[in-house]
């Protein structure tokens, strides 16, 4: 497994931090101290967000998708497969939405350990992608204590 090899050889773990734009991206950025000691690749849907991580950061642009357009969904998924094959992350972390879902799904299939952090926007119920991701992710998190369940997502604080 990639992650075990990385650990044994004392290499820094490689993290793919990926999300769609807007609030999902801002939430992802607020997690940055968690990536200390890691090689991080950031991926989101607009080149304009590059300034948020600085010139020296590894920043990739992916195609956005939402569940209303099948063509976009397929294109986005193909782009993310290519991204994950080229990055080979040990860990994939996402705050959603559709591109993040593809990334954890594909990342998991390709041997990464994966994290779903449901957006803080989902204060009444988990997002649909968040519910689906729950069946296979290694760490499944909500940001609202009242949405945490024994066999469901855990809550360990929020981005606020």
């Amino acid at each position: 497994m990639i992650s075990t090899t990385a650990l044994m050889s004392g290499k820094r773990p490689k993290v793919l931090a990926i999300s769609s734009g807007g609030g999902h991206w801002i939430q992802l950025l607020r997690l940055r101290p968690a990536f200390e000691g890691c090689k991080v690749v950031y991926a989101t849907v607009k080149d304009g967000y590059r300034v948020d991580v600085g010139e020296e950061a590894d920043f990739r642009v992916i195609r956005n998708a939402n569940r209303w357009s099948k063509t976009d969904l397929i294109r986005s998924a193909l782009g993310i497969i290519a991204l994950i094959l080229s990055v080979r992350p040990d860990v994939v972390i996402t705050t959603g939405a559709a591109p993040g879902y593809f990334a954890v799904r594909i990342g998991k299939l390709l041997g990464a350990r994966v994290v779903w952090l449901d957006s803080v926007a989902n204060a009444g119920e988990l997002s649909m992608s968040g519910r689906k991701a729950g069946s296979f992710v290694d760490l499944w998190l909500t940001q609202w204590p009242h949405l945490a369940r024994d066999k469901g997502p855990a809550c360990h604080g929020s981005v606020l």
Binding site: H24, V51, I93, A121, A123, L160
Partner: protein, 162 residues
């Protein structure tokens, strides 16, 4: 300036029409809006369909008040800049978003004292008429809560916490 933003994905005409009407009635020339794609275009207030992230940040840091939908991009951007924010949630039943999650977001963040909420146009006008009473909330920390950071950091480095 009052900076109005409704995100980029889906139009939010109800909010824009209300703010545009309010600005016209009150002869307010200090309102600017990012209206998103494919929506109704204001007749009175200047607007842009989409701002690049850099210009968005400039407009935001220069404004006196942020008026927006209850999307987390809008809310977090305003909080990170310590700007007062007034949100009107998009409604699922009106086709303004896919479900009513913005109502949940608005209620929870209002209860936490993070945002001012107008649940409809009447409340929006009330708040705008008394906008000098909308003060910046306590600034938020630059990053997520320490427990969340620790949880993720430990997970990445294969340490599990009890």
């Amino acid at each position: 300036m009052i900076f109005v933003t409704v995100g980029s994905d889906i139009p939010f005409n109800r909010l824009l029409k209300a703010v545009d009407g309010w600005a016209r009635d009150n002869k307010r020339r200090d309102v600017f809006a990012q209206i998103g794609r494919g929506g109704w275009e204001p007749g009175f207030i200047p607007f842009a369909t989409m701002l690049e992230p850099a210009e968005f940040r400039e407009r935001l840091s220069a404004c006196r008040l942020v008026v927006g939908h209850a999307g987390m991009g809008t809310i977090l951007s305003a909080l990170q800049c310590s700007k007062p924010i007034l949100v009107m949630p998009r409604r699922g039943p009106l086709g303004e978003t896919r479900n009513d999650h913005q109502m949940d977001t608005a209620r929870q963040l209002q209860a936490m004292g993070r945002v001012n909420v107008a649940f409809d146009e009447t409340e929006l006008f009330d708040h705008l008429d008394r906008m000098e009473e909308l003060l910046p909330k306590e600034p938020i920390a630059p990053f997520a809560e320490p427990e969340l950071i620790r949880t993720l950091h430990d997970f990445i480095h294969h340490r599990t916490r009890q």
